[in-house]
């Protein structure tokens, strides 16, 4: 089977993941709904994941994919805890608008 990456070109994957990542960044800056921001974080994580997979294929090495594995696990844990926190916040102040979370004032 021919190497897919050779046909498409690793650079295309890099560009794709960069743009995806930037969309994630943009979302985080653009939105103020905490859950949507979470989603954006997932997008960013996924862009990194995809690059890992692409390079794993590029180098014909499985280790990159192992890391994707771990990333997913960490992401899952993160989402679980993060959402729990959000729920608590919502329960306390009735909103998950991050502009209202100003208790971190110095």
């Amino acid at each position: 089977m021919e190497n897919v990456i050779e046909i498409i070109g690793i650079d295309k994957y890099i560009y794709l993941s960069i743009i995806l990542f930037c969309i994630g960044v943009f979302g985080i800056l653009y939105r103020r709904n905490a859950i949507v921001m979470f989603m954006c974080i997932e997008i960013m994580l996924n862009s990194a994941n995809m690059l890992l997979v692409a390079f794993s294929t590029f180098h014909q090495d499985a280790e990159g994919q192992v890391f994707v594995f771990f990333t997913m696990a960490v992401a899952a844990a993160e989402v679980a805890v993060g959402l729990a926190i959000l729920v608590t916040i919502y329960r306390n102040i009735g909103s998950i608008d991050i502009d209202k979370l100003k208790n971190l004032k110095g």
């Binding site: 046909i7 994630g24 653009y30 859950i35 979470f38 926190i85 729920v87």
Partner: protein, 171 residues
Amino acid sequence: MIEILFYILSTITLGSAALTVLSKNPIHSALWLVVSFFSLAGHYILLNSQFLGMVHIMVYSGAIMILMLFTIMLMNLNISHEVSKPFITKLVATVAFCLIGILMLSIVMRGAQTYDLQYATSGQDFQSAHVLGKILLNEYVMPFEMVAVLLLLAMIGAVLISKKDKTEKGA
């Protein structure tokens, strides 16, 4: 043929990601994100990482997104009562987006000119579930176990955090 497939998938990925960000309604965002994740899984399969693609669908589209949707519904956020940010914020967000995008792209492009890319073709099997499993349980057994503990802890933590503090309320 594969290239076309790649471009189609990429378009779906980027488009749905953008719609995730831009949708007013969080539920729509979530749904668009699911689309994005599915397309990413498509990329994985395109890259011959079928196992990873499946895991991705299960974890992200299955577990994580369901979790999020549930949360949204729990909070009754289906209507878009999010106050949109002021114009200046949006502008700055766009500027930041362009800036970081251009920066990263230019870095990569500069790099691309100088590197002579060598595509490795060993022909060996390196990404089947069989191989991955062996690596995970040999070389990476320690982190693997750690991840298990992490997930357990995350679960306990999530339960603990979201639990209503009865004693405090009672007092």
